[in-house]
């Protein structure tokens, strides 16, 4: 029996996905794999393709049988109509402001708290950590009404604060950053302390720069999550002028369902910015995901 060295599956660097040639697939022609993957890719993209192209079609062209692959005529009236019915720039800005604030704050708090849990010991630390982690298991319908009432009492209803404050700390973020912080050598921190740096300075000057990989991955996740957040803004925001983009589009689609053109234009508007952010940062995202160390 050949000696097999058991490799540790924990702590991986950012270049994770190795070229494991599974013998099973060697038998299967590689070509077949590419074909299947391509077919799959088409199904992934097809709905978006139709969404975007249809937003430039006339109403009759949208419902054409067989479907039009390219808009003819190519019109932008749907977008014009959309803009007259709902204030897209306003919704967009609302979503952007909320997403940016939530992202920045979450990155900062997750980094701080993750750092403390990773590098310090104190009374009750494990218990507190478990208690925080346990909150991930709470189904949000359980907390949504009381949290709404708390926000009511704190004056956070119907304004951005109601969305931002409950998102101040992210359990997922704390967990993810903590995992990563374990890789920062303690000697580095001690050296800084010996040199007279205060704890905050140590954090800002050493810890943060060294963990930017995980913090930025977290930032991107948070941004995308915040943008997509639907139910909570639905509950908390009542003034239409404060609505986030998904909320505004959903309301619009609900009311004007039969006019597909503007509705699909609305869907396009809420998807395209996110898509662009994703395509720019995709390497970061997938690395961040593999970094969460889903392992044995």
């Amino acid at each position: 029996m050949a000696a097999v060295t058991s490799t540790s599956t924990s702590s991986r660097s950012s270049t994770v996905v190795r070229a494991n040639r599974l013998p099973f697939w060697k038998i299967f022609p590689k070509l077949m794999v590419y074909v299947l993957l391509t077919v799959g890719s088409v199904t992934m993209v097809m709905p978006f393709y139709f969404m975007i192209t249809s937003s430039f079609k006339t109403e009759s062209a949208i419902n054409a049988v067989p479907p039009q692959w390219w808009p003819s005529p190519f019109i932008i009236d749907n977008y014009k109509q959309l803009l007259t019915m709902i204030d897209i720039p306003l919704l967009f800005t609302n979503s952007l402001i909320i997403a940016v604030i939530v992202t920045v704050v979450t990155m900062y708090t997750s980094a701080l708290v993750g750092y403390v849990f990773a590098k310090f010991s104190f009374w009750g630390k494990n218990f507190i950590f478990m208690a925080i982690l346990a909150t991930m298991m709470i189904p949000w319908p359980v907390t949504m009404v009381p949290v709404y009432q708390i926000c009511l009492k704190l004056g956070l209803v119907n304004n951005f604060g109601g969305i931002i404050i409950p998102s101040l700390f992210s359990t997922f973020g704390i967990f993810m950053v903590r995992q990563f912080m374990h890789t920062i050598p303690n000697d580095l921190l001690d050296a800084a302390r010996i040199d007279g740096a205060s704890e905050m300075a140590t954090f800002h000057r050493i810890v943060v720069p060294n963990s930017m990989a995980s913090i930025s991955a977290l930032g991107i996740f948070t941004f995308l999550w915040s943008w997509d957040n639907f139910l909570w803004p639905l509950i908390v925001l009542m003034d239409e002028r404060l609505f986030t983009l998904p909320l505004g589009i959903a309301m619009f689609a609900g009311r004007w369902w039969t006019s597909f053109g503007p509705v699909l234009a609305g869907a396009t508007v809420s998807v395209v910015p996110v898509l662009i952010v994703f395509l720019i940062f995709q390497k970061n995202i997938t690395e961040g995901m593999t970094m969460t160390g889903i392992k044995g």
Partner: protein
């Protein structure tokens, strides 16, 4: 001598350090400054609400309008258990979960295996599969609702091309839920595939080489090496999948509003409606508590099941 940050010598974990000077040392002040607000936050936005929900589930008056809550004991629970909608919606959520999770897990594993076997263009494919994941569920629901249209929708057009009869999709009580399942699985395929991909990357090549030397063929090494080594990854995918599917809401809200005939009314949809549309806060809370218990039981059961399988 290298000292480990936060060693017991200076930390609050060491009982010899309970002099005020040591407690208020710079390091300890830092820790407290970070941890105390964190604790307050989680108490305020997580644990207090759970207790609040529990308390509210025993009251009758609409607590949303801050009227004086009236204690009615278990009446909400009795009403909930007696209401057929409760059972129908639970059934819907369970059906959704029981179809989505196996379907999603197996397909994303298949995709991960395929991605793992190619080196070129892997990143490109990975990105493409991830696109539905990052797009807004609202937008996706809108597009799929349009595609599922009976008259001119894409799906029925595809069916007519191969001479199959048109389906009513979202308007068909027997089909609507399944239609939403397909969309939901489609949307999260890439996410789970990337997780499986990461898990596959952690399997040492040597295992496969050793098996090949011992004469194992492709299928055997898949079943006896790949699958066991993926257990914790699979556990993660399945458990989070179940927890998320049981709480499905947005798709139903946008695509079908719970219809037709309550066939897509999930339990969370009912909880939402009772609380924010019917203003029955206490009743909604009792439903939420029931859901909470169900999810807890299922999660613990799953965790125990997977823990047993982890010895290999």
């Amino acid at each position: 001598m290298a000292s480990i940050a936060g060693t017991t010598t200076g930390s609050l974990a060491n009982p010899r350090n309970l002099s005020w000077r040591k407690i208020l040392s710079s390091r300890n002040r830092f820790v407290m400054a970070v941890i105390i607000p964190t604790i307050i936050f989680y108490l305020l936005f997580a644990y207090l609400p759970i207790l609040g929900s529990l308390a509210m589930s025993f009251t009758g008056v609409d607590t949303m309008l801050a009227m004086k809550p009236v204690w009615i004991g278990l009446q909400n629970y009795i009403q909930a258990i007696g209401d057929t909608l409760t059972w129908v919606s639970l059934q819907n959520s369970f059906a959704f979960t029981l179809v989505s999770v196996p379907l999603g897990t197996i397909s994303s594993l298949a995709i991960a295996l395929m991605l793992n076997s190619i080196t070129r263009q892997r990143a490109v494919f990975r990105t493409i599969y991830f696109i539905p994941v990052v797009t807004s569920m609202v937008a996706v629901s809108i597009v799929w609702k349009w595609m599922y249209q009976p008259a001119f929708g894409l799906f029925n057009q595809m069916l007519s091309v191969v001479n199959l009869p048109e389906l009513k999709w979202l308007n068909d009580p027997n089909l609507a839920m399944f239609a939403i399942v397909i969309m939901s699985v489609w949307k999260s395929l890439g996410f789970n595939a990337v997780i499986f991909l990461a898990g596959l990357g952690g399997i040492p090549k040597e295992y496969f080489e050793a098996a090949a030397i011992d004469g194992a063929d492709g299928w055997k090494s898949f079943v006896h090496i790949t699958l066991p080594m993926l257990q914790s990854t699979t556990a993660f995918v399945v458990i989070t999948g179940v927890i998320n599917c049981l709480q499905v809401f947005t798709q139903m809200y946008i695509m079908t509003k719970g219809g037709p005939f309550d066939s897509t009314r999930s339990i969370v949809y009912v909880i939402y409606e009772r609380a924010f549309v019917d203003f029955m806060g206490g009743y909604s809370a009792s439903l939420a508590m029931i859901l909470f218990v169900i999810i807890m039981v299922i999660s613990l059961f799953q965790l125990r099941m997977y823990r047993q399988n982890w010895e290999y």
